[in-house]
């Protein structure tokens, strides 16, 4: 399956791209996606522990199962307002 991954703020700078399609095994979890992301973009390891993820616009824990076509976002600590 393929998920769309969006990178924001410092994550965008470290991955050096705004978005990409990532191929994962069927039944992969958010945790599997994060491992694949770090394999593709090792520089993200420097902020890995501060990152949270959303799946289809909702904050997702690492055990959430992903599906083909999901939109995953890589969210560094936020600073709106």
């Amino acid at each position: 399956m393929i998920v769309k991954v969006l990178y924001f703020a410092s994550a965008q700078g470290l991955a050096n791209l705004k978005s990409e399609s990532v191929r994962l095994k069927e039944g992969s979890s958010m945790k599997d996606m994060a491992a694949e992301m770090l394999r593709l973009h090792p520089d993200l390891k420097s902020i890995e522990r501060t990152i949270r993820y959303s799946v289809n616009f909702e904050i997702a824990d690492s055990d959430v199962t992903l599906h083909d076509g999901d939109e995953v976002a890589v969210l560094p600590p936020v600073a709106g307002g």
């Binding site: 904050i59 600590p77 936020v78 600073a79 709106g80």
Partner: protein, 142 residues
């Protein structure tokens, strides 16, 4: 005017406040956030806000729903700007009207705190001299 909005255009606090007005209201409370010159002992010239727009708009609508479940507010408006902003410019405005002032104050405070905690937005400071850095921020709340 839509009650929640993310925009690149300058925010007019007067228009946001007017949008929550009405003859049922006994008053309105508004919070206006502006770009501060001093940050961590350095002089800031401006900020660039980045946003995950679709998620941020959904989160703002969720904040409105939460406010309406907790307080009997009449109207609520939330506008957040993104893109390049200069010191002194308005980055965010939240206005709430209600029959009585107590719930308007509480709801407005809740909404701006929720905006800061749950919206997928980031800001990069531009310092005097040209250096730039992402503001450290806090982990996004679910």
């Amino acid at each position: 005017m839509k009650s929640v909005r993310i925009t690149r255009q300058p925010i007019s606090p007067a228009r946001v406040l007017a949008s929550v007005g009405g003859k049922e209201a006994g008053g309105a409370v508004m919070f206006v956030g502006t770009i501060r010159r001093r940050s961590g002992g350095k002089t800031v010239e401006g900020l660039t806000y980045e946003v995950y727009r679709e998620m941020a708009e959904r989160k703002m609508r969720e904040i409105e729903e939460k406010v309406r479940r907790k307080w009997p507010v009449l109207k609520i408006a939330m506008v957040h700007r993104y893109g390049h902003l200069k010191v002194g410019e308005v980055s965010v405005a939240v206005a709430v009207s209600s029959e009585h002032r107590a719930e308007a104050f509480e709801a407005c405070r809740f909404a701006i705190d929720a905006i800061k905690g749950t919206l997928p937005m980031w800001k990069k400071e531009r310092f005097k001299g040209g250096a730039r850095a992402w503001v450290k921020g806090t982990p996004i709340e679910a």
